[in-house]
Symmetry: C2
Subunit: 305 residues, 2 copies
Amino acid sequence: MGETSKRLLSALVMVVFFLVAFLYAGFYYIDLFFFGGFIIYFGLREFYDFSHREESQAFRGIGYFYSLIIYLVYYFQFMGVQQNIRPPSWVLDISGLFNTSGFSPVIALLVLLVMTSFLLQIIKRPLDGALMSVASTVLATLYIVIPIGHFLLLLGLPYGEYYVFLVCVITIISDAGAYFGGRWFGKNPAGLKVSPKKTWEGYVTGNISAVLCVQLLNYLWITFASDTELPLGLLESILLSIVISFISVIGDLAESGLKRDAKIKDSASIIPGHGGMLDLADALLFTIPSIYYYFKFKEVLGFPV
Amino acid sequence: MGETSKRLLSALVMVVFFLVAFLYAGFYYIDLFFFGGFIIYFGLREFYDFSHREESQAFRGIGYFYSLIIYLVYYFQFMGVQQNIRPPSWVLDISGLFNTSGFSPVIALLVLLVMTSFLLQIIKRPLDGALMSVASTVLATLYIVIPIGHFLLLLGLPYGEYYVFLVCVITIISDAGAYFGGRWFGKNPAGLKVSPKKTWEGYVTGNISAVLCVQLLNYLWITFASDTELPLGLLESILLSIVISFISVIGDLAESGLKRDAKIKDSASIIPGHGGMLDLADALLFTIPSIYYYFKFKEVLGFPV
């Protein structure tokens, strides 16, 4: 089987898993929780490998531990805001504590993660590499867990299911469009040292494909989904597609930069045709929080979302 | 003038400045805002110097920029919760946006900081040191700005002024007690490679001094301050003093670890007898958020704070 067909086939399998996980609300979205947890675990593992240097290394145990707690906080927040199922009252009680205004348990946990990493550094590796070890432990959680947590928050918004489709369509089509656009029309290199083979033609194809596919998504959504209206207008959806498509390219290049820095080609080889988890999720790690805060900020300003 | 008297004298000057800044509420605590901003600016500058390596360097401009915005968010949150002055309505409007439940502008800004740092890395320094450059930019803000922001939140709690005295007394007395205890009784090294001269006798003296001085503070507060009651009992105040004193030691050692890693002796020499801003503030960066979340968590659980 060729590389492209392998890539397409394994993408298809994942899309099916993913659709089941986030559209099936039974059992308190526990399948979605594990799907996200799976991405977080392998993503962190690859990131920790990236950060391994002669003098320094992330504090893996404590990183996994705090990442799990932070992810659980997002899961409980999500349980409190989503409208599809009615969780047990103790879950809502915990969620209520986390949704108190002015109290952000995630910031508290990030501060604790910083302090605990420094403590381990002092006790276990007192002399060299302190800054790199502590900083890479903290960045791993910020870079991977916070975005996956925001996936749950995004799904918890009133039009959440539409938003999840929206961000996935933009991100996946931008990437696929750039890949095929580059292969078919690619002539002029974009001049990025971190990814020297990428061409302008590829990026433009990706961006235009994303804009068009979002319009197709909107048409299908209005026609077939239960909602008859969309929470965003035509011009807004075009501009948003362009910006999020651009952000997805940055996410892709960011991960390439990490790999180049670590002198690694693929982040791992757990997904046939794609490489590692981070190779696959890199763009989503940037587009999910971006689109969430766009809609959340609209909501805070009083627009319907 | 000897090193000790220099140290004591400049500490005295700073304490006076500090008392004016946080007890004088006029002009919307603008003096306190600048006092905190001053600490943040010099703290970041020293941290960025620590992170300078052959291949990597923090993104200073973007680090200062996001740090300022995050600090402003804390300032507006503080304006919304403190009870001493009545800010203009537009300030309360902004504060209301930031205090919406489930919306944390600080997390949004941290995510943006990660994304912007990666973007700069790709454009300006595509090849080496990506992880260290991005991670140290992000850690600088988490390590310095978030704690100083929490100082404002702590002051904004109902018993805020007492809490500020409490955390300062524990942190300063722990440090001073360890310094003099080490000089007077120091015999057995604590065996910490990061700070080989520190002794057990010093640490124990610091811890006991902190516990005793908190009881003195409580006595003075009940006798002379306007409140006649304290929001915490005797046993609670003793246990809290011991734990926070221990955390202040970790904060002190964490900064020593950063200096040792960077092969620097003093973080800078802007404060006579103390060295740099981080040499002075290191312990507070850990104790302020710890004590804030202790009381905030009590409040969320329904206890009076």
